[in-house]
């Protein structure tokens, strides 16, 4: 370690990143990398990357990658410290902003906001799906299988009320059996 570990700096680092994390904590990953790997050396390159991949594969919100980073730095207390830091400011801000908007629902600015932001939000969801699918389109092996699986998933979601968790588990089984 180039810098001795302390909980205070860990907490402060995530606390400062929280208000900047528009679009999710994932947008501040480059900054976390700079701090945890390059500056302090509390994590190495592999630990950092696998922390993020692991949290994305597991069920639950992707923000939990911050817990895994904290865990890999300092075990359970590290996970709790990092999560508290990243959650506190954004949570307080969200609650304050939501209440203000609800109290001023008829205000022109609030109405223009909710009407005007809707298209962006939808475009963003579809772009997210596209970016998640992209690595499969680019990979040379398994391309056809995974593409077919993505297409079938879209159809099943639109046309049936099949539980999403069965689809994800089904994808896992097909992958493990070597079909995709």
């Amino acid at each position: 370690m180039t810098v001795p570990f302390d909980f205070g700096s860990l907490f402060l680092h995530f606390l400062v990143l929280s208000p900047m994390s528009i679009g999710g904590a994932i947008t501040t990953v480059p900054e976390m990398h700079r701090f945890l790997v390059a500056q302090t050396g509390w994590l190495n390159e592999t630990e950092f990357t696998t922390s993020i991949a692991l949290a994305q594969a597991a069920p639950g919100p992707n923000i939990l990658f911050v817990a895994v980073l904290g865990w890999n730095v300092a075990g359970l207390p590290g996970a709790a410290t990092a999560m508290a830091g990243i959650m506190l400011p954004s949570t307080l801000l969200t609650l304050t902003a939501t209440r203000w908007a609800r109290a001023n629902r008829e205000h022109m600015a609030v109405r223009a906001f909710s009407v005007g932001m809707m298209p962006l939000t939808l475009g963003l969801i579809i772009a997210t799906g596209w970016l998640l699918a992209l690595p499969f389109l680019r990979a040379d092996d398994h391309r056809l299988g995974t593409l077919a699986l993505i297409a079938v998933t879209v159809l099943l979601t639109l046309k049936t009320r099949l539980s999403l968790v069965w689809m994800v588990l089904g994808g896992g089984v097909l992958g493990a059996l070597g079909f995709v």
């Binding site: 528009i22 639950g60 954004s90 809707m118 994808g171 493990a176 995709v180």
Partner: protein, 182 residues
């Protein structure tokens, strides 16, 4: 529209929702909150998400705070947030502890690829499913769809940073909406 009866119901609903979300919770949130529980309409869901999106923090976590707050105030926000994070945190930390062995296993790698492809499909389908929410947008359907398409192009293909897209497409949309609503 329905509403949760108690804080426990809120907590359980968000735990259930989070546990179904592999590779992201958005698709499941739409399915559960809009289609199964009917706590939000399609339009309310997109509106709430729009606010959740521009505030710092993960959109689905902000969404849980906002939904909880709407029904039970601060206690509701905490119950929803706790539901969203506690059980999944135990699982992901368990996985982190076991990761060294898991990563060596080709079976696990293959299964993860299959699950990843499905979660990409789920998010795409969610976006397509919510598009009709734009039908009654005061800006007009064509304008709204055009803006959605622009957002998709800028983020998905040109890879603009989110803040820039918020400023251009979000700011532009708000300006158009302002003029229409006046």
């Amino acid at each position: 529209m329905n509403r949760p009866e108690s804080l426990t119901e809120l907590f359980v609903a968000f735990t259930r929702l989070a546990l179904q979300g592999f590779g992201g919770v958005l698709a499941v949130a739409q399915r559960e909150l809009v289609e199964r529980l009917e706590w939000l309409s399609k339009e309310e869901f997109v509106e709430t998400l729009a606010v959740a999106q521009v505030l710092p923090g993960p959109n689905v976590v902000n969404l849980s705070l906002m939904v909880g707050d709407r029904f039970f105030g601060t206690r509701g926000a905490i119950a929803a947030l706790a539901g969203m994070l506690s059980v999944p945190a135990v699982i992901v930390l368990g996985l982190a502890a076991a990761y060294g062995e898991l990563s060596q296993h080709p079976l696990a790698v293959n299964a993860l690829r299959g699950m990843g492809a499905v979660s990409a499909g789920l998010v795409l389908a969610t976006g397509i499913k919510l598009l009709p929410a734009l039908k009654h947008n005061p800006m007009g359907r064509a304008t709204a769809l055009g803006l959605a398409f622009a957002a998709f192009m800028l983020i998905g293909l040109l890879r603009w940073p989110l803040v820039a897209v918020l400023a251009v497409v979000g700011g532009g949309g708000m300006l158009l909406a302002w003029r229409k609503l006046r």
